[in-house]
């Protein structure tokens, strides 16, 4: 690590605008990982399941939005207008609702029957669910990259030197921030949010308060899918290409982000997402993208070995 930094700092200093450019790219990328990581961390927080299918729910968000874009008659290159963005918003809401339903269904048929089984059983089921979703998307749209229409404005704002930030980057980062803030407020303040935290901490005690834990867990999957679905659409709009197995790598990166931030912790997942996005961007930019996976999964292993509770892991004493 130290050697890497020694190699990295002089190169960053020699070309600051390149450094800033990569920062922008990393933050936008990280914002998307953050949206996925939130769903991982919420589900883990409440039923201690690493929901490996979550990354594929993210991909499904992009896939389901494509026919809707067609159905709404939106075409690439049409001038940016209020109507266009209103339509995109409606599409996003429909996609989020559909995905929420799908994820609740997944929980109901694949995970709930195994809730009292040994931990390994639901974990393996989650891997299986991931394959099923990827398989379904493969059959639906094939193995190739699919073009995702570009609707976001193309302008850029100069950041000095040759660095600049695109409106696209700003929109993606802003959307992620909005989602994280809304979600955090919801979890901390709302009745359902409190029920979710109570269920996460002690299911028996939660039931004794009158909390229907099945409904609360289903609500968690619903919200997780909303975020993943939004992430999928944002990914499509930002990168303009999607593929059936997108969620595999993105899901693992987001999982790493959730672990890095402290699994079960909402803010941790958001910070972890940004961090992983930055690591990926700097690795791609300064070294080689072939090594990016190595860096990121090394981080996963290091965190698991030396600080399993992550950056913001739970530190409240339990008496």
């Amino acid at each position: 690590m130290a050697i890497l930094l020694v190699l990295f700092i002089p190169r960053a200093a020699s070309d600051p605008s390149f450094f800033v450019q990569i920062l922008v790219y990393g933050l936008a990328n990280g914002a998307i990982y953050a949206l996925i990581a939130l769903g991982y961390t919420m589900v883990y927080g409440i039923i201690e399941l690493i929901n490996f299918a979550h990354g594929d729910v993210f991909t499904l968000g992009a896939f389901v939005s494509l026919p809707l874009i067609g159905a709404f008659g939106l075409t690439e290159g049409q001038s940016a207008s209020l109507g266009l963005y209103a339509a995109l918003l409606v599409i996003a809401i429909i996609v989020m609702l559909i995905l929420g339903g799908v994820n609740v269904l997944i929980e109901r048929i694949a995970y709930r029957p195994l809730r009292h089984a040994p931990r390994l059983a639901p974990l393996i089921t989650a891997v299986g669910m991931s394959f099923i979703l990827e398989g379904a998307m493969y059959i639906w749209r094939g193995a190739n990259n699919i073009h995702y229409p570009d609707f976001l404005p193309a302008g850029r704002i100069s950041l000095g030197g040759s660095a600049s930030i695109g409106y696209k980057d700003l929109i993606v980062i802003a959307l992620a921030v909005v989602f994280v803030v809304v979600l955090t407020t919801f979890i901390n303040r709302s009745k359902l949010g409190k029920a979710m935290r109570a269920t996460a901490q002690d299911q028996d005690a939660a039931q004794l308060m009158g909390i229907d834990i099945n409904r609360t867990i289903a609500a968690t999957f619903f919200i997780g899918a909303i975020l993943a679905g939004a992430g999928g659409i944002i990914f499509g709009l930002y990168f303009n290409t999607v593929r059936f197995d997108l969620g595999f790598q993105a899901g693992l990166f987001a999982f790493t982000a959730a672990v890095f931030g402290g699994i079960g912790n909402i803010q941790g997942a958001a910070i972890g997402g940004l961090f992983i996005g930055l690591v990926k961007a700097y690795s791609d930019g300064y070294f080689t993208s072939q090594l990016t996976d190595v860096w990121i999964f090394s981080i996963l292993i290091l965190v698991l070995v030396f600080r399993p509770t992550g950056l913001l892991g739970m530190r409240v004493p339990e008496k």
């Binding site: 002690d202 005690a205 004794l208």
Partner: protein, 236 residues
Amino acid sequence: MALLEIDAVDTYYGRVHALQGVSLSIEEGEIVTLIGSNGAGKTTTLRTISGLTPASRGQVRLRGRDITHLPAAQIVGLGIGHVPEGRRIFHRMSVRDNLVLGAYRRKDREGIRRDQEHVLTLFPRVRQRLHQIGGTLSGGEQQMLAIARGLMSKPKVLLLDEPSLGLAPILVDQIFDIIRDINREGTTILLIEQNATKALTVSNRGYVLETGRIVKQGPTKMLLESPDVQRAYLGI
């Protein structure tokens, strides 16, 4: 009609046949104590009533209504509060959120506010800690919070599982005083206690549970004077 009746209940806890034909009944306004050694089935009895470990045979009735197989979350709403063994407060939530969750089933905002105020008067220590995180409270404070939280559902019957376990003697006395106060305000209480002498002293009646069966029951005076009970549970 008794407020709460348990009628020939069999309950399995995992593979253990924890309750074998247990029957007991509690009248409105009583304090009833369940004594017995570890593993006799005291906690299982409470879990059977509150629906956490439903009975496989027999019936649990609240004012004559069969609640045996209702989900636990619904039973709270009918007026059975359960303060579980080991307090089980929400460690990572604020004391206030713990209380708010206690009233989860209720919709009467005004009543909830009044009850919270009342509960905080009963437990001034909890009021002092209102904005702290639950896990930072001392054992005694956590126990008080657990009882306070249990009262927030406005129960007709409150099930208390070892409320004095692990507390300093002065706190034990306080807890028993509060149990009496709560009862005087109209809440019926079913109590489990290691500290059998103390528990029987505040109670009207008691049941003795031995390996899943009720072996003795009666007014507390009778149990306190029974040689069997004295030898086995009162350490006399």
